[in-house]
Amino acid sequence: MSILSLFVVIPVLMLLGLWLSRNLNQVRGVMVAGSTCLLLLSVWLTVTFVQMRGAGNTDAMLFTYSVPWFKPLNIAYSVGVDGISVVMLLLSSIIVFTGTFASWQLKPMTKEYFLWFTLLSTGVYGFFISIDLFTMFVFYEVALIPMYLLIGVWGSGNKEYAAMKLTLMLMGGSALLILGILGIYFFSGADTMNVLEIAAKHNIPVEVQKVFFPFIFIGFGVLGALFPFHTWSPDGHASAPTAVSMLHAGVLMKLGGYGCFRVAMFLLPEAARELSWIFLILTTISVVYGALSACVQTDLKYINAYSSVSHCGLVLFALLMMTRTACTGAILQMLSHGLMTALFFALIGMIYGRTHTRDIRKLGGLMKIMPFLSVGYVIAGLANLGLPGFSGFIAEMTIFVGSFENADTFHRTATIIACTSIVVTAVYILRVVGKILFQKVADPHYETLTDATWDERFSVCCLIFSVAGFGLAPLWASNVIGDAVGPILQNIL
């Protein structure tokens, strides 16, 4: 039994605990205990992982463990982590932990809410630790379906439409994935589903790869907000309750980028090299289009959702650049965007819970009324537009430097176009900050509103510390990630 299995066992125990709990305090107790355990576990894992790498352990995956599951079909429960999964696990734990506090006051049906929330996080953790295609896929879908009820029941606005659209689009993506997985399995000799073994065999004919690469890349790309399959994202994020937006934009969308890299590009390397230009064009559009759309939105959550489209587009964009620096930047961007966006959505949820509107035209002067939340918002905004000292700067810098390493005109043009999004990001962030935080108090009724409660302050502070922490001390993360990116890129180039 590997220590990694705890990442699945703990959430399952949490589900059990929630099922048995009788009142609100017990529900909260189970959630706090469970998410704290997960956070500690992932911190311990990160530290141990860094130490083991430092001690000269160069295996592709550490903590590996494999046990046959469906033996006649060569399906195994295989787990293992490399640098990429380790930082993703850390990210997930931080978001789940802070998400728990961000939904402290949530009503009604708190118990059911946390049940689905925990099921979702089980899927997320399971996905990041598994290295077997089938197991990975099972966890992937486990992470998707709770979104329907979380948005549909506890959401706001046009929630039924948003929930259905999101679920169907993401499930459409996973339908493509199944076909791709079957293709990879059968054309690689049909004797293993283990990602590492398939990659080591490296025996899928190029023509076959070219058929299945788009299925897998688009399948995961839907979740990574690849243009033009991103349309579920703004509606979904806008309607979701706070913690769900946090988890969804913060972690779930990363599953897309992670899958594209780990499955599509790692297992179908030749096709990735030959077809990358198509997807590079699409992701460049994502980056610029997302940023421009954010400029004209008036709903705070829509602004952030489009900003997520732009930033997640940047992740896929950097992966497709296929240089070591760019790919390291992509993973850093996942980490950084996950934290920043979670912070943003948490703050927006808290503001919305008080003002009952997210329309920026109706908001104003919040700095005077709720200084804590407003300062948090400014910090989140500055991190988002890539101010040095926060994690966003490190990630974007690495991405653009790495992308520019490609010497041909096509890649450089794409890089330059994508770079413009930095400026546009500054425009929409500063526009919102200026409009809702400063100026006159828009509605006299706002004067009576209170600032953040302790649970909200705690959640926000944790996120700000993480964002700043990664911004100030990014080297260990980029080293760990760079080591993991190397072998995957070797397969491609």
Binding site: L149, L179, L182
Partner: protein, 479 residues
């Protein structure tokens, strides 16, 4: 004649014994007002039957090859007996109504005799025994459909069912006669050998196969032989609809697969192409129709047509993995569908016999447990992990893709796209239960212990059959 041959057909013999015991018990106690012991007795007998089928694993034959059984057929018999057990447990609530209680014995006898027919059909080694088994399964089924003849449209449903059943039997017999005329024998083994050797007129053999396929297509309700399904499912008593949709369909699908793979093996390229078309049509058309339904039993009828399409995907692979995948799919389908029908049945009971989807608006607020179980069952039907339905769907797709041709991949792709459509309509019910608020939501009610037991078994199946690979291994070992 060597009478010890009967020992080779133990599952059928014990089923016969069950039938006799039930009949005598019914006969002796007829006219009594309360027969509380009756349902538990029948359930216990059926449980014994499940165990008998479960331990029976050898491949044996009897009566000069008329009766042949294989380990995989025994597994299927066990699965169907277990499914019937769930139906019997679940039926008690319905059978304790004043207008049905005097028919309780008949219901059990008819159910057991259909199961006997299906067992015969699955272990036939000769087309005539197969045909007798089929008729033994369909004629009592028509009586079951008509059991509620003074309520709803039960009589109409039965008329539609029996007409289609006879018509399809006729078509099938016609096909069998073509085969006989062409190769001169009706033993499965001999037909396969002669076909492989190129005996007989190929065109006639193909026509025979097509007619045979259409006959069974009616039973499985594949498009374009599905027209009776919606009306019959809607009109039949809910318990019977559940029985019809899983047990009868599972048996027919398994037999069709066995015969296509064994007897018509030399004609594989012909029936594979035919299957592609039928599968794509079944899944797509049924899904599109299901979206428009507002009556839940009709809705489940279309859902079951599309599930039948998925079941047939396993046959495309033409491999042992396909046999396993099909049996496994049927097993998972049995528990998921029976859970749905159990819920439909109790809701119908508490809603004055109406099974409209509107009855489920706001259902979660008043009856959270039932709504939750219904959600799990629907998720399983839609193929959402960690519930068993996802595993069975994935293995079906694997079995089909194993065939390797571009056409097989294309069919799998279309089926995959259809899973998204099916997810949409299953989610409509989930949406009604959780999200829609209704002032007229059904009041909170308590369900009887039999329904609870049936639901508990089904839910355990939904939760465990996928994650615990031992169930799959058990089936895989036999095929």
């Amino acid at each position: 004649m060597n009478y010890s041959q009967f020992l080779n057909m133990i599952p059928e013999a014990t089923l016969m014994a069950v039938l006799v015991i039930v009949f005598v018990a019914d006969f002796v106690s007829a006219g009594r007002k309360e027969r509380r012991w009756f349902n538990p007795l029948v359930c216990l007998l059926m449980l014994a039957q499940v165990l008998v089928s479960f331990v029976q694993t050898d491949a044996v034959s009897a009566f000069g090859g008329m009766y042949v059984t294989s380990p995989s057929a025994n597994v299927m018999k066990t699965i169907l007996a277990a499914g019937t057990l769930i139906v019997l447990i679940q039926s008690r609530n319905w059978l304790s109504r004043p207008d049905t209680s005097f028919k309780e014995g008949e219901f059990y006898e008819l159910v057991v005799s259909t199961l006997l027919g299906m067992n015969m059909m699955m272990s036939a080694g000769h087309f005539l025994l197969f045909f007798i088994g089929l008729e033994m399964a369909s004629v009592p089924m028509a009586c079951l459909v008509a059991l509620d003849k003074y309520r709803h449209h039960s009589a109409e449903a039965a008329a539609k069912f029996i007409l289609t059943a006879t018509f399809s039997s006729g078509v099938m017999l016609y096909g069998i006669s073509f085969l006989y005329g062409s190769v001169g024998t009706l033993y499965f083994d001999d037909v396969a050998k002669l076909l492989a050797a190129g005996t007989g007129n190929l065109t006639m053999c193909i026509m025979g196969m097509v007619f045979f396929f259409s006959g069974l297509g009616f039973k499985i309700s594949l498009v374009p032989f599905h027209f009776w399904t919606a009306d019959t499912y809607q009109g039949a008593p809910t318990t019977v609809t559940g029985y019809l949709s899983v047990i009868s369909k599972g048996a027919a699908a398994f037999t069709l697969m066995a015969i296509l793979m064994k007897v018509f093996a030399p004609l594989t390229e012909y029936w594979t192409n035919m299957l592609y078309i039928v599968i794509v049509l079944s899944i797509t058309i049924a899904n599109l129709f299901a979206i428009r339904q507002s009556e839940l039993k009709r809705f489940m009828a279309f859902s079951s047509i599309s599930q039948a399409g998925y079941i047939m995907l396993a046959v495309i692979g033409n491999s042992a993995a396909g046999v396993t995948a099909l049996s496994y799919y049927v097993l998972v389908y049995v528990v998921a569908n029976m859970a749905v029908f159990s819920v439909i049945s109790v809701v119908e009971e508490n809603n004055g016999g109406v099974t409209d989807m509107d009855a489920y608006n706001g259902f979660y607020r008043t009856n959270p447990k039932l709504a939750f179980l219904m959600t799990l069952a629907l998720f399983s039907l839609a193929g959402i992990p960690p519930f068993a339905g996802m595993f069975s769907k994935f293995f079906i797709f694997m079995a089909a893709a194993q065939q390797g041709s571009a056409a097989a991949y294309a069919v799998v792709f279309i089926a995959l796209i259809n899973t998204v459509i099916s997810l949409y309509y299953y989610l409509l019910i989930v949406k009604a239960m959780y999200i829609k608020d209704s002032d007229k939501a059904l009041p909170t009610f308590k369900s009887d212990c039999n329904t609870k037991l049936a639901l508990a078994i089904c839910t355990a199946g939904i939760a465990l059959f996928g994650v615990c690979s031992c169930v799959y291994d058990w089936i895989a070992m036999a095929s």
